[in-house]
Structure formats: C-alpha cells, structure tokens
C-alpha cells in the first residue's frame, strides 16, 4: 500500500539541516522559505542529488536512503520525476526526444509513442520537433513536466518551477498544474519562496528557515495560527506585536497591549502573566462606524492615528499608530472615501479578537 514519502534528515555541513516530513500520495506539499533556508537542498536530497547526512528517506515503502544501514539508492533507480528551476532540458534534443529520454528502458517505438502522448497531454502538439531554445518559457516548462511524468515516477519534485516564466504564463501554468494534480496519485513536493503560489497550489505548507522546519500545516491553519513569530513574519503578517497575557476568562483570553486591554479568542495553552506575541490578519482590523450600535463580545475598540495611506490598486493600505506600534489595515478605496480617511486623522478601529492569535515570545525578537 503506497503511503507516500517519509523523510528524516539531519546534517551539519555543507548546509545545516534538520527535517522530518511526510507527504501522502496525491498530496502537494510546499517547502516554503527564504533563500538559503534549505528547501532546495531537501528536495535534492530526496532525488539523491545531494549528499545525505544522518537519516532515512522512504517512498511508498521502498527505502531510498538509510544512514543506519548505509543504504543509498542512486538517483537513477529512485524513480523521481523532477522539474528543475531552469527546466534543464537537453538542449540538443527535440521536445519529443527530451520526453522519450526519460523512458530509455522501453523499446524505441513505444518510447516515441508515449512521449507523443505526454506532449499531447501537456498541450504541446505541433511542437514535438522543436529544440528547447525554439520554445517559449512556458512551453519549456511543460516539456519538463512531461519528461518528469513520463518516467511514471513514485514522486514528483518541483524546484521553483514557475520562477523562470513571466507572470501571465505562470497564472496559466498554475491552473494546468492544479488540473494535473487531480490525476496524479503520487506525492508532489513543490519548492517555492512565493507564498501566494504555495497557498494556491499546496495542500500543506512546510515553513523552513535556516535548515529547520518551523511548522507544517495547511495554508489556512498557518495563516490562522502560525506557531511562532518567525512563521508569522515569513507569512508576511504585518500586524505582529508584543503584549502580556493577563489571564483567561470563561469565553476569552485577555491581553494587555500598549496600555489597552484586548479580549481575544480563548487560548488556554498560554500561561497567564506570560509575555506573548500576538498577530491579527489585515481583515481583523476594521474601521468603526460612528453610528455602530455596540461592540460584539470579542471586538476591541482602539483609538489610533492614521500615519500613512498607500494606494495599492483598488485597495488602500492604511498605517495606524497605536502607542509605539503600527497597525496595518487594508480598506477598499470607496470605503476610505466614505470615511474621508486622511493622514494625521485620529479614529476608532475594531480589532476582531476571534482572529487574534497568540504565540510564545521566545523568538519574538529573532
């Protein structure tokens, strides 16, 4: 019974790495992190292209690497389908021959027929005889995907596969990959530094920094409850602040921040009196209507001063000063106009306590 990829790796050189992950068949797991976080190293380790440290890699019940028994299956026997960042097509071979090159164990006729079928599947009919340099970036990427899948791999590894194509092509390729994954019954590991890409394509995201996995969760879980301030920062959460947890009530927890008391969703795993970090997504900060009736139980009224308004298309990003911290709020342009928002203005906002998430302060300043 195939159960996907199980990986445990630990190494100090050349790049420190400490990782444990699982990717089920049919699941897309995104490895997300800044440059040098070890995500590509991890992917290359799975393929056997990178010297391993201590640990074990098992795919669908077959052990590919085990430092304890000194077992290391060479790359060519691992049955991995890999799409490289710059595609790494064979420049002297046509699109069809590039795909056929992944099936050298088959007779020539069958190889060519299968390659043709894969090219058709990837919408590349009519381009079979072109060399890679005669194809656009998007077409090259499709040939690379076809070549990776033609081998009928046990796992599909994608190393920043969308970074070498323009934005419009990328959007189209997202949909193709999303379609394709419906049919694939294999684990798919996607390396990316683009959060939007990961959120769009991945079932789960694995946040990496300095070779360590900080958190693995679904995109929703990550955005709702990042495990640490470091993860929240990697996710681009701007509203991340230090406070003190005063205590827990029956329905909520109470946090002291900038001299104000915030009532937030009950998070009893944190101890009262503890210094904490708290985060709220942009949607958790709202303008308070002057004629609003009353606040909901978990809504917190805060007085702020507008310090800056940035226009980002139809949305405005509004910076709000509260004590020594700056809240960021995103409002549609017409709402801003209705409220006559201007820099220097003092106003009331609501912080939606049910969206506020608490994190330990350990890595707060990291």
């Amino acid at each position: 019974m195939p159960d996907g990829l199980h990986l445990t790796l630990q190494q100090q050189t050349p790049i420190p790495l400490e990782a444990r992950l699982h990717c089920a068949p049919g699941e897309v797991l995104a490895l997300v992190g800044p440059s040098g976080s070890g995500k590509t190293t991890l992917l290359r380790s799975i393929a056997g292209l990178h010297p391993h440290g201590q640990g074990r890699i098992e795919c669908n019940g077959v052990v590919w690497y085990d430092s304890a028994t000194r077992l290391c299956v060479p790359t060519r026997q691992r049955r991995v389908g890999m799409v490289f960042q710059q595609f790494a097509l064979f420049p002297h071979l046509s699109a069809r021959d590039n795909v056929a090159a992944a099936m050298l164990d088959l007779p020539v006729e069958e190889r060519q027929q299968r390659a043709q079928r894969w090219l058709a599947r990837m919408h590349l009919l009519g381009l079979e005889n072109r060399l890679p340099r005669q194809l656009s970036g998007g077409q090259q990427q499709r040939v690379a995907v076809a070549r990776a899948l033609a081998r009928e791999p046990q796992i599909l590894l994608l190393d920043e596969p969308f970074s070498a194509v323009d934005r419009a092509t990328r959007e189209a390729l997202y949909y193709e990959l999303a379609e394709l994954r419906e049919e694939l019954r294999m684990p798919v590991i996607l390396v990316t530094h683009d959060l939007d890409e990961a959120t769009l394509l991945a079932d789960r995201m694995c946040m990496l920094d300095h070779g360590r996995i900080l958190q693995t969760a679904t995109p929703d879980e990550l955005l709702r409850a990042p495990a640490s301030a470091a993860v929240a920062r990697m996710l681009g959460m701007r509203n991340l602040f230090a406070g003190t947890l005063l205590g827990h009530e029956q329905e909520c927890s109470v946090v002291r921040w900038q001299g104000q008391t915030l009532r937030i969703a009950r998070q009893a795993h944190m101890a009262p009196g503890e210094e904490v970090m708290w985060a709220v997504p942009g949607t958790g900060v709202m303008l308070l209507n002057s004629h609003a009736t009353s606040l909901q139980p978990l809504e917190n009224q805060v007085t702020v001063k507008v310090t800056r308004i940035l226009a980002l298309g139809e949305q405005l990003r509004v910076m709000l000063q509260c004590g020594s911290d700056t809240l960021t709020m995103s409002v549609p342009r017409h709402v801003a106009q209705r409220h006559a928002l201007s820099e220097g203005q003092t106003l009331q906002v609501r912080l939606r306590g049910e969206l506020i998430h608490l994190m330990p302060a350990t890595h707060a300043q990291g």
Binding site: A47, M82, Q86, F90, A101
Partner: protein, 224 residues
C-alpha cells in the same frame, strides 16, 4: 616531395589524436566538474607545453626516455628496442606536448554544460555511460572536435620536440617538418616549397574546421 615523411607525419598525428581522445575526455570532465585538490597546479602542468620552448621539453623527454632512465630501461626490457629515436618514443613525446591542445578545449566544452542538465539525466534514470553518450558528448562535441583538430595540426607541424627525441631517421622518425628543414639545408627549395604548401593547406583546413566548431559551440551556449 618526401611522401614517406608526409605519411609518417599523418600517421603520428592520427595516433596522437586517437590516444589523446579518451585522455582528453576523461581529464577534461574531471577538471571541469570534479573538485580536484591542487586544480590550479594541475592546470598549469597541462598548459606547460604551451609556454616551454620545444627544445627544452624535448631535452627533458629525451632524458626521461633515454636508455639511462628507469622508464627507458623498462621499455627496452619489455619491447627489446630503445624508446628514443623510435616511432613509439616520438608518439609518447607527441602525446605529452599535445596535452594542452587536447585537454583545454574539451575542459571548456564540458564546463559549458549546466550541472542541472546532467542531473536531469540522472533523474531520467540514465546510467553514467548513457549520460556520457547521450548528453555530454553530443553537447561537447564541437569542443572535442576542436581539440582533435588542434592536436592533429600541431603534431603535423611540430619540429623542436620531434628533432630532440626522434632525430631524423627516414621512415621511422623523420616527419614532414624535419624533411622541409633537411631540404632547405640541401638547397632543394622546390621540394621544401611544395611540402610547405601541403602543410600550409592541411593546417589551414584543420584550423578552419576548429574555428567553425568553436563558433557552433558558442551559438549553442548563447541559446542554452
């Protein structure tokens, strides 16, 4: 026209080329991709024949292969004839002084292949031999061809080293370059002129082929 000398030169060039083909591919790949300790020193050693006067190189080879040297004695014991002033000795010398002409263009050609392309071959399930034959050699062939042509042309025209190691024994070590020198010494300018023209023609054709191959490699690199 000294046809024997011309044939001997062509034979020497062909053998040198054939022997240096696998040596060049092996060393070129290693120098291009494998982290080798003391790589700069190795590269300098390979390039040495480019800057060393041929007579100096010839002198050291003569000493190293002579009957007084361990190598020369071992050769004589094995094959029953001395190495210096023989075709075999000439061939060994020729291989050594042609090392930079064979290795350097091949090294550059292998360096031009992106590491990911070879890795993609591994991910496609190819064995090291399949990667060599299906990916590396087709991509590096202009460089390899260029190396072979340079080696061929250079051997054909080499004078100093050949004279030092082989002397001028007709049918054994007298190459066309030495024959031209002999003809000039004997005031036979017509024969010297004819042989020079033949050598010029062959060298020009060879070097043109080499440049053509290099241009093709550069075009490929700019599109890769």
């Amino acid at each position: 026209m000294d046809w024997t000398a011309l044939l001997l030169s062509l034979e020497l060039s062909l053998w040198t080329m054939l022997i240096l083909l696998p040596i060049g591919i092996w060393s070129g790949r290693r120098l291009a991709w494998t982290p080798v300790r003391g790589k700069s020193l190795l590269e300098a050693l390979v390039a040495l024949p480019l800057v060393l006067p041929p007579t100096v190189l010839g002198f050291y080879l003569l000493v190293a292969m002579g009957a007084g040297s361990p190598f020369g004695r071992a050769w004589e014991a094995l094959f029953g004839q001395q190495l210096t002033f023989s075709f075999a000795g000439l061939l060994i010398a020729s291989v050594i002084f042609n090392l930079p002409f064979a290795i350097q263009p091949m090294q550059r050609a292998f360096e031009a292949i992106a590491p990911e392309v070879r890795e993609a071959g591994r991910c496609c399930g190819m064995s090291p031999w399949q990667i060599l034959l299906r990916i590396e050699l087709p991509l590096a062939w202009p460089g390899i061809l260029s190396a072979l042509v340079l080696t061929f042309a250079h051997t054909l025209g080499e004078f100093g080293v050949v004279l030092m190691v082989g002397g001028s024994i007709p049918g054994e070590t007298r190459t066309i370059a030495i024959s031209i020198y002999d003809r000039v010494q004997a005031f036979d300018n017509q024969a010297a002129g004819l042989m020079s023209a033949v050598l010029l023609g062959i060298s020009l054709a060879a070097i043109s082929l080499s440049y053509l191959a290099t241009a093709r490699l550069q075009t490929r690199q700019s599109h890769a």
